[in-house]
């Protein structure tokens, strides 16, 4: 029977059935959680979905699909009628049934080979348990059956589908006796014949007309069919073997209008074109609700084959390229042809809009992937005995269909790992004072032209120590590298190929299974994956993805005569290093050239070298390209100043253009010869011959018709063997060393005042600790007790004699003049007035010296050390210490 059915009907049925299953999965989860308080709408939705599948399967004679959906329908009917209570066991059966239905739909022609005996048994057992209750349920339904339902219980999709296939819809009445029995055929033969002529959308027997046992065999019952066929009315009647007056064609125009107005509403009127029967009031709210839902569904939709869209997309891409070529070809002719500019402008805009519109047709909400996870989590939680709540945010964020499809596997990996390893058992969580139910958040959002998908759990996190130990054990990193790695780098090792194997999953608390698959799949999509974790608190896996793979804004760069495109999402900034600054800004670290950019240090790759293009430079004199023989960017040969004007190393054409690219948290610079424009390029997949070239992610055609390659940032890093970890570690060491040296130098360098005490004794006092130097006459020194004083600006200034504090000789007697060093004293950050003066015989010099102080044997306070200054051993003094020793200054000052 399926052989005579148009294949497109089958594929429509499969697609619709899948949609039905996807649509009710969240409802089923709600059903499970909802317990007793289930909304009637929800139950009806679920019931209707399974009912539609059953109907289609029956019509198309997919027996297994039909029987399974039938028992499921029966069970769901019991639930809907309140005869059966929802419990996890029942839902297990329903979910298992759903999976079987899906498996059957996956290969519909082989659906009868999908084993479903177990599921059927399970449902039948449930039905048998209900036993006689079924009878009661029939009674409940008999009210409906009392002839109130005179409309076709129609699936709008099938009407739409019939219309889409150019069918006319008929209202055909067959009388069981005169049209079937009297013609010597069975009802089955009649129906089978009808199905060869067209599509039977629905049928009903008017129960009002049915007589009871007493008289039933005397009557001739009419059966009404809603029938779709491409035949005209008279031919249809003939083909059905019915008198022409019993086959009435419906008003197709009105039907289409009706569909447009309320796509979801059941077209009640079409069932009884001749004798409209009054609608029972009880049914009205439901019809109203359906119409309202139809209204909410927004604009009318149409099912389109994906290959058709892909074809359109490719055509649009070609159109964009042709437009670019046209614009370039006609560039400069706009003055010759009047109105050309406006026409070009128009073509350009229409092309862009067309291309954008077609691209949008391929966009799908990420929810189509996300929505499968509540179910996965539910099943896993039940299996593992855990409690896990899953929350989905941003399900409406749209991505290209191809990306959405390829995301399924990596996301499933992450989610499963999360439930399996990251989230603890409820008891353990309670002990940790966490909510016994693990929280899992799936969040999609836009950021900087990319879509970010964050999967966050509040599980046990990943222990970097364990990851590192394992990475070392597996030879992914060596000990030396490991020492330099940051925690973030370490946890991201879980993405390394070969890191995780099934046998060691449980060794690592947290995630780890197949994460390299996650990374490779994400990178295949032009995306990037990162991981952030905190032990005991949780883990977030971040996927950064492009919106579409088809058209991407890219920077066009040139190396020699070649052009390349770099996707703009990877570009951070452009750095122009003038030829004269090369030596200052480009350095060598760990044997690699690096660019010093603000506080960062970026490894540099020369695009020419990575791609194996001979390096060239443009000769300043001739403008020709000539081979560049320099090995390094940094050419430190000293050049004679006089020749600088002619030296091509100093010429502006030798300036370096560096494109800074980002790859996850890392950045690196790519040295190119020239920078061109940013263009919207149409990505063409690489031919399989060059697919293994890691440096390229695709190709595109430029406005001038040239084919250029699109560079892959990740591939460049691999190709150039950049090791960010090594480089960062080296740089960290270098910065550390620099700082240490600077600190050391600062400690050595001092400005001192060198002065003399007794003959042969030299002292040095740090200049920054001296407020003033004064010359005084010895006769002005007065003794108060045993302390000398001098009148200084109207005040008595105590004097400090070094020989009284330190093991040094007193100043020679008979000096007429001596010098006083007045130390600077700060109190609460403010220089306060002079506290005391240190008496010396002479001031020798003020020096900037860089010396290492040696410890001295001389005893006493305030000695910093000694050094040889100008061939004399000099004692370095700390004046404040001396003041303190003399009791002239507070300890805290």
């Amino acid at each position: 029977m399926t052989s005579i059915v148009d294949e497109s009907i089958v594929s429509d049925f499969v697609a619709e059935s899948r949609d039905h299953l996807n649509a009710i999965e969240p409802d089923l989860l709600t059903m499970e959680q909802g317990g007793a308080e289930l909304s009637k709408d929800l139950l009806n939705r679920v019931f209707r979905a399974i009912h539609s599948i059953k109907g289609g399967a029956g019509f198309l004679a997919f027996e297994s699909l039909k029987s399974l959906s039938h028992v499921m329908e029966s069970v769901l009917m019991l639930v809907r009628d309140g005869r059966l209570r929802v419990d996890p066991e029942l839902m297990d059966a329903v979910f298992a049934g759903m999976d079987r239905l899906r498996a059957m739909l996956d290969d519909i022609q082989a659906s009868d080979r999908v084993p479903c005996g177990q599921e059927l048994e399970r449902f039948k057992a449930i039905l048998e348990d209900q036993g006689l209750d079924q009878g009661a349920q029939v009674k409940g339904r008999s009210r409906d059956a009392a002839g109130r339902r005179r409309e076709f219980d129609l699936n709008m999709e099938s009407v739409k589908s019939a219309l889409a296939h150019g069918m006319n819809l008929f209202h055909a009445t067959a009388f069981l006796r005169r049209d079937i029995k009297d013609k010597g055929i069975t009802p089955l033969a009649f129906l089978n014949n009808a199905l060869t002529v067209g599509q039977c959308l629905d049928a009903y027997i008017d129960l009002l007309e049915v007589a009871d046992l007493v008289t039933c065999l005397q009557q001739d019952l009419p059966v009404t069919l809603l029938f779709g066929s491409v035949l005209e009315p008279d031919l249809a009647a003939m083909a059905l073997g019915l008198p022409a007056e019993q086959v009435v064609m419906l008003d197709m125009k009105a039907l289409r209008r009706q569909l447009k107005a309320a796509p979801e509403a059941v077209p009640v009127a079409i069932a009884e074109p001749a004798a409209a029967v009054e609608e029972p009031a009880g049914d009205a709210p439901e019809a109203g609700a359906k119409a309202a839902r139809g209204g909410d569904n927004g604009p009318e939709t149409l099912r389109v084959r994906v290959d058709l869209l892909t074809g359109l997309m490719n055509q649009a891409g070609e159109l964009v390229l042709s437009r670019n070529q046209l614009l370039r070809a006609l560039d400069g002719h706009s003055k010759d042809i009047p109105g050309l500019a406006a026409i070009l402008q128009n073509i350009s805009q229409v092309t862009s809009e067309l291309q954008e519109g077609i691209m949008q047709t391929r966009m799908q909400p990420i929810g189509t992937v996300f929505n499968r996870f509540p179910r996965i989590i539910r099943d896993m939680a039940r299996q593992l005995g855990k409690q896990i709540d899953i929350e989905i945010k941003g399900a409406e964020v749209e991505l290209d269909k191809s990306i959405v499809e390829l995301l399924t596997d990596p996301l499933t990996h992450i989610i499963r790992n999360c439930a399996d390893h990251a989230i603890e058992m409820p008891d353990e969580r309670r002990k940790l004072k966490k909510n016994p139910a693990g929280q899992l958040l799936l969040h999609a959002y836009h950021q900087g032209g990319q879509v970010i998908i964050a999967i966050t759990d509040d599980g046990r996190g990943i222990d970097p120590k364990k990851v590192l130990a394992k990475a070392i054990a597996k030879g992914i990193v060596h000990d030396a590298q490991a020492k330099e790695m940051t925690e973030r780098e370490i946890v991201n090792l879980v993405f390394a190929p070969g890191f995780s194997t099934a046998d060691s999953v449980s060794d690592i608390s947290g995630r780890g299974v197949g994460m390299d698959v996650v990374r490779s799949n994400t990178e295949k999509l032009g995306g990037h994956v990162e991981l952030e974790t905190q032990t005991g608190v949780g883990t977030t896996v971040l996927l950064r993805l492009p919106l579409t793979l088809a058209i991407i804004p890219s920077m066009i760069v040139g190396v020699g005569a070649d052009r390349f495109a770099i996707p703009q999402v990877n570009v951070v900034e452009f750095v122009w290093v003038r030829a004269a600054d090369v030596a200052r800004r480009i350095e060598r670290v760990h044997g690699a050239e690096v660019l010093r950019l603000r506080s960062r240090i970026l490894p540099l790759v020369r695009l020419a070298d990575v791609l194996g293009i001979p390096r060239t430079f443009r000769d300043p004199a001739s403008g020709e390209f000539a081979p560049d023989r320099r090995g390094e960017l940094v050419d430190r040969r000293a050049e004679p100043a006089a020749e600088r004007g002619q030296d091509r190393r100093q010429d502006w054409r030798s300036d370096y253009n560096i494109v800074v690219l980002k790859l996850g948290p890392n950045q690196f610079g790519v040295v190119v010869d020239e920078l061109f424009d940013i263009e919207e390029i149409v990505v063409k997949p690489l031919s399989e011959f060059v697919q293994t070239c890691k440096s390229f992610s695709g190709a595109t055609i430029m406005g001038d018709g040239r084919v250029i390659m699109i560079l892959d940032a990740g591939g460049l890093v691999v190709q150039a063997r950049l090791h960010f970890a090594d480089l960062m570690a080296e740089e960290k060491l270098r910065v550390e060393e620099e700082r240490r040296q600077a600190a050391l130098a600062a400690s050595r360098r001092r400005s001192v005042i060198v002065c003399a005490g007794a003959p042969g004794e030299h002292f040095a006092i740090p200049q920054d600790q001296v407020m003033r130097l004064e010359k005084i006459r010895t006769e002005d020194i007065q003794m108060v007790g045993d302390r000398p004083f001098v009148d200084y600006r109207g005040q008595g200034l105590p004097l400090i004699r070094l020989d009284r504090l330190l093991e040094v000789n007193p100043l020679p007697a008979g000096l007429k003049e001596v010098f006083v060093v007045i130390p600077k004293v700060l109190e609460r950050g403010v220089v306060c007035q002079a506290k005391a003066g240190i008496v010396i015989s002479d001031i020798i010099d003020a020096l900037d010296v860089e010396v290492e102080l040696e410890p001295v044997k001389v005893k006493g306070p305030g000695i910093l050390g000694s050094a040889i200054l100008q061939h004399n051993l000099t004692l370095f003094l700390d004046p404040q210490e001396l003041l303190r020793a003399e009791g002239l200054m507070g300890v805290n000052a």
């Binding site: 029956g58 019509f59 004679a61 027996e63 029987s67 039938h70 029966s74 009917m77 039905l127 006689l132 079924q134 009878g135 009661a136 349920q137 029939v138 009674k139 339904r141 008999s142 409906d144 059956a145 009392a146 339902r149 219980d153 069981l176 006796r177 079937i180 029995k181 069975t186 009802p187 089955l188 129906l191 039977c200 629905d202 049928a203 009903y204 027997i205 129960l207 049915v210 007589a211 009871d212 046992l213 007493v214 008289t215 039933c216 065999l217 009557q219 019952l221 059966v223």
Partner: protein, 107 residues
């Protein structure tokens, strides 16, 4: 119909009447079956189950009879269900949308 078997077995279990035709429900047998059904339905019951396990064919009149039985059940307030339906017959029932009126379980 030259069988010695009764054309229809009527078994009563508590409130449930189980009717099991032993022959096909076709023009030649429906009249006899109708008589037996009428008789069995004279006693009140809360549920009637029509067991089609032994029925291989059904024709227009068979369908009319089944509907007649259902109508009678409705009138007497008994619930009605059909069991043991073979796939071919099930297909007819389904194409006529009978499961909309009462529950029908396949064999």
């Amino acid at each position: 119909m030259t069988t010695s078997k009764p054309p229809l077995a009527a078994i009563r279990k508590g409130e449930v009447l189980r009717l099991k035709p032993q022959v096909d429900l076709v023009a030649s047998t429906v009249e006899v079956q109708r008589g037996t059904m009428m008789k069995a339905m004279e006693t009140r019951q809360s549920a009637v189950v029509l067991d089609l396990g032994a029925v291989e064919q059904i024709d227009s009149l068979g369908i009319t009879l089944v509907l007649g039985l259902f109508k009678t059940c409705q009138k007497t307030g008994a619930s009605f269900a059909i069991e043991g339906v073979r796939p071919d017959i099930m297909r007819v029932f389904r194409l006529f949308n009978l499961p909309k009126f009462f529950s029908i379980l396949e064999a």
